[in-house]
């Protein structure tokens, strides 16, 4: 197991370096960020000064060497626009994104599992068919479109919920959190539901498939023969067994929640790191783009590793060391 973890860590480090190299050189191919800083009344000397201040006058290899040596020390460069360390800016925005992603994850579990369980237990009824049709829709509809419709219905027409921003936040251990105030919760509701929609559909399908498969297993028959009540069979014996795949997939999907939050944050003007990325792309703020990518690949690597390890603990049949043979 420790060999497996070591090998995975090494491989992940390799992926991160490769990504950093790729994006560093790739981003340098597009546009010249100097033009974001010059005003019409600047002369050639001023432009050269700006270029020098940003470190863009040096050869690209030297820029890359500086970037890598700094990166090892945890410094991913200064944002061109804000003049602050890029990593710091991203870490500053991260709690907002994580809050949104966790809220969405919670919604996926709380809404998805009961619906999926119901659809699996009574697969032929009209409610089950409606649930399944709904889940197909959840898969098909693009996130951004659903977000726009939510704003139109709940914010513009009905006026129930606000459509932009985070609302009042409470500071806990230096983190600003929205979900502890009523106003914050109201702001959180629409973006979180928007982000959760795809995952709700996924959980419904997984739970339903798991339930239908498990209902014919011997242990369920045995539990029934033993005379256990139906709520106990479903709530304890069945649920315990179908939770393994659901937990694994949700864990893996957490990364994609963070990736999709780019879309949701842009629509609902949620001040997280996804919105920061989009702004950085539009303003050619290279250090932020690179820092975001390094950060997100790191997150994915950690998530994948944790899920793999958790999986082997939850399901003893999986042995990590035997992979790839």
């Amino acid at each position: 197991m420790s060999v497996f973890i070591l090998r995975r860590l090494l491989q992940s480090a390799l992926v991160m370096v490769a990504m950093a190299v790729l994006v560093f050189f790739g981003v340098h191919l597009v546009g010249d960020p100097v033009y974001m800083f010059i005003t019409p009344d600047m002369d050639q000397a001023d432009i050269e000064n700006v270029t020098r201040a940003l470190g863009l006058d040096r050869p690209i290899w030297e820029q890359f060497w500086i970037f890598m040596t700094n990166a090892v020390r945890g410094n991913l460069g200064q944002s061109f626009i804000f003049g602050e360390p890029a990593l710091g800016l991203i870490l500053q925005r991260m709690p907002a994104t994580l809050e949104l992603a966790f809220a969405a994850l919670l919604m996926a579990v709380v809404i998805g599992i009961p619906l999926g369980l119901y659809a699996g237990l009574y697969p032929d009824g009209i409610p089950a068919k409606t649930i399944m049709a709904g889940s197909i829709l959840g898969f098909s509809l693009p996130t951004f479109w659903v977000g726009i419709m939510m704003i139109m219905i709940f914010a513009v027409i009905l006026g129930w919920l606000p459509s932009t921003g985070r609302g009042d936040t409470v500071e806990v251990f230096g983190l600003h959190l929205s979900f502890l105030t009523l106003d914050g919760l109201r702001h959180l509701a629409l973006p979180a539901l928007n982000l959760a929609l795809l995952k709700i559909s996924l959980v419904i399908r997984l739970t339903r498939a798991g339930t239908r498969e498990a209902m014919f297993q011997d242990y369920i028959k045995f539990a029934r023969a033993k005379g256990l009540s139906r709520p106990r069979i479903v709530g304890v014996h069945l649920l315990k067994n179908i939770l393994i795949p659901v937990v694994t997939v949700l864990g893996l999907e957490f990364g994609s929640l963070i990736a999709f939050s780019v879309v949701t944050e842009t629509i609902f003007a949620w001040p997280g790191m996804g919105k920061l990325l989009i702004e950085a792309i539009q303003q050619l703020d290279r250090p932020i783009i690179v820092a975001y990518l390094v950060m997100i690949v790191f997150l994915f690597v950690v998530i994948n590793l944790v899920v793999d390890i958790l999986y082997s603990i939850l399901d003893p049949r999986v042995r990590l060391g035997d992979r790839g043979q």
């Binding site: 098909s140 990736a259 792309i281 539009q282 783009i289």
Partner: protein
Amino acid sequence: MTSLDPASRADPVPAVPKAAETPLRRFVSDYCDSRLAVGAALLLAVIVLVALLAPWIAPQDPYDLAVVSIFDARQPPGAQSMDGYTFWLGTDGAGRDLLSAIIYGLRISLSVGVASGVIAIIVGMTVGLLAAYAGGRTENLIMRVVDIQLSLPAVLIALILLAILGKGIDKIIIALVIAQWAYYARTVRASALVERRREYVEAAACLGLSHARIVFRHILPNCVAPLIVVGTVQTAHAIALEATLSFLGVGLPQTEPSLGLLISNGFEYMLSGKYWIAVFPGVALLITIVSINMVGDQLRDVLNPRLQK
């Protein structure tokens, strides 16, 4: 129309009552088991036709500055233009007839989705076949890359690539191909692995056929079914992804207004109650994606060998 739509191929069948059951006929009759799926296929055929014939069908050329008037901007659905023409779906912020803009946008969205899908299939198929047939180190290396890429969401990969490449129709196709090839590579490899151990491959090798011939003429045709299913669903994904990226402002430039860009342009007017500019292009996008997905769903049921009667 006939060539586009698998359902309508059923027409000539009744003419030959005694004909033996061919795979194609069985496929068509299996497909027609679901009325919903036939409806979806017909709808899809209509959508493709509308997109292909856009310049002849659209009531107005929305990019002809001589026709579009800024005085007609943001007219509600059903409004009359100055010269007595009715805007059935209203007009957008620049005074373009929204119905025409949607028809032209559909054309762009579909061509981006189909082009990226076809290229990604060719790339992924070749790489997947290579991995399965070569085996050993080559396979390990290729599948490692595929695994790593599939662990990152497609939207993220495309977003980063577009941050590097910039805007443009060719660039978004490149980004979508890179974001998608791995799905095809994995699918083809999985079925090719099974096929290459079959007797007919051994027989072909004994006959002294070249590797390329064995791979492309003998193994590949037997891996096509899952590829079609994945291809249909992935094309719908590609269309949705392009719309998302264009909405975020990193996909297509304003000169190539796909459905996603039309929605993006309409979004700013929505808070002031001018819903139609964003809603109608969205409905068009939705119908397209849902109908492709429904066709793909039925294809999966029909082509899945495990479910065959």
